[in-house]
């Protein structure tokens, strides 16, 4: 493995360049071979170096010819659809990296603001060092947390049991609300999965409800989609602050 990072530019030193070429060419051939074997696909590689008129190839002259003719048989459009050169390939990489950068910055921002929030709970003075952007984001995240906490409080208050079994509690109450005739018997069955004497149909009904949790009995949060803090699901109609992360 490399001890230090290699600069992404033409290596000016002749011998260093030649050595690098040898190593990397070997590595590249190995990688093509592995890709072909692991995924059971056809592939070929042709490498022209400044040191040799003859190209280095993989898998073999015959193999390359075979892949090339297979390639040429394909319609022009199919050939060029996923074809890249240095220019287009690098642009793709840059775009991808920029996306990752944006995401990472957003995440970091969220973490920082959350930190400020916690600081604000104990030392209100921190608010004075914040500008409008910060206050906006802070307000938003306080809202998000309040939402989650309220949801959680409702869940716990209803269940009165341990937090992990809250879902079980939820289903039994939704059972009572939906299907009237079956509900009575199902209400009994809810409390005991161990009761193997379940009617097949009732079992099915139970299973269906398990797959589609109805949370319209959860206090003031009915109708709201599942909340993704800082994600794409953030509904803001009930909060004071508009979403700073996704305008």
């Amino acid at each position: 493995m490399t001890r230090k990072k290699v600069k992404l530019a033409y290596i000016p030193n002749d011998s260093a360049r030649k050595a690098t070429f040898k190593k990397r060419k070997k590595g590249l051939m190995k990688k093509v071979s592995e890709l072909s074997t692991l995924c059971g696909i056809e592939a070929c590689a042709i490498i022209f170096s400044p040191y040799d008129a003859q190209p280095e190839i993989w898998p073999s002259p015959m193999g390359v010819q075979r892949v090339l003719s297979q390639f040429k048989k394909m319609p022009e459009m199919e050939q060029s659809k996923k074809m890249v050169n240095q220019d287009s390939f690098l642009r793709q990489r840059i775009a991808k990296a920029n996306e990752q950068l944006k995401r990472q910055r957003k995440d970091n921002r969220e973490k920082e603001i959350t930190q400020v929030m916690f600081q604000g709970l104990t030392a209100g003075k921190v608010l004075q060092g914040l500008n409008m952007l910060d206050l906006n984001d802070l307000g938003w995240i306080v809202d998000q947390n309040l939402k989650e906490i309220s949801k959680r409080i409702v869940m716990l208050s209803k269940g009165g049991g341990s937090s992990s079994s809250a879902t079980t509690v939820q289903y039994s109450s939704s059972q009572e609300e939906t299907t009237a005739p079956v509900s009575a018997s199902q209400g009994e069955k809810c409390s005991g999965f161990e009761q193997m004497g379940m009617e097949a149909m009732q079992k099915q009904q139970w299973f269906v409800d398990l797959m589609n949790p109805q949370d319209n009995n959860m206090g003031g949060f009915g109708g709201e989609e599942v909340m993704f803090p800082f994600g794409d699901g953030g509904s803001t109609h009930s909060s004071l602050w508009s979403n700073p992360f996704y305008p």
Partner: protein, 222 residues
């Protein structure tokens, strides 16, 4: 060894048994292969063509200067024709590639910086969680804790609103007067002063908002 992925682990060189894993592997390794090819071209000035058929029979190819020219050169077994025009085109192309590589390097470096920052923030959160129960994830809190936290947050929300109001009022006023005798933090908070007081370890790259404050808060950031 329990790992999320097989990195740094030996992989058997046979066709992968699991269909979806195979797909994922193809995707990742093809991408990595092209990356290596690109680097070889940049670092050593090689001319390369790689053609790969996907499990779904689509074809992916990478070529420098382009797939066609390398394939041609291979098939015709002729030494490359270097005309004057060709050289010019080549020079332009290389200059552009140089630019792009620099740009890429820059973005990757920035990404690394942010990732480190992220790690740092994670560590900080972990450390403070040990001290402050309210910083734990909400699922870990019990009912009385939740109620208390809720109240504190509601208080905080009010304070935030007040502070925001304060700033808005300041900014809609005529240019700030310098009141003699006012303490550095007491009365009026002058715009552009925020950084001086900002000791929350915040992002110092943020532009201070003076009179450009837009009360319409719904902007994205960066």
């Amino acid at each position: 060894m329990t790992r999320k992925n097989k990195g740094r682990q030996k992989v058997e060189m046979v066709k992968m048994p699991n269909e979806s894993n195979l797909q994922v592997t193809f995707s990742k390794r093809r991408s990595g292969l092209f990356k290596k090819a690109s680097e070889l071209c940049t670092l050593c000035g090689a001319e390369v063509a790689i053609i790969v058929f996907s499990p779904g029979k689509k074809v992916f190819s990478f070529g420098h200067p382009c797939v066609e020219s390398v394939v041609e050169r291979f098939l015709t077994r002729n030494p490359p024709q270097i005309s004057g025009t060709m050289q010019l085109i080549e020079a332009h192309r290389n200059a552009s590639v140089r630019e792009l590589n620099m740009q890429l390097t820059q973005v990757l470096n920035q990404l690394e910086v942010e990732k480190k920052r992220g790690e740092e923030l994670n560590q900080m959160r972990k450390a403070s969680q040990a001290q402050c129960w309210w910083e734990a994830p909400i699922e870990e809190l019990n009912l009385p804790q939740l109620e208390q936290l809720k109240m504190s947050l509601e208080e905080l929300k009010k304070s935030v609103g007040k502070q925001a109001e304060k700033i808005l009022i300041q900014n809609s006023n005529p240019p700030p007067q310098f009141f003699p005798g006012s303490s550095s933090n007491g009365g009026i908070n002058l715009p552009f002063d925020h950084h001086a007081k900002n000791n929350t370890g915040f992002n110092p790259n943020m532009m201070p908002h003076g009179y450009n404050n837009n009360p319409g808060f719904g902007r994205g950031f960066y």
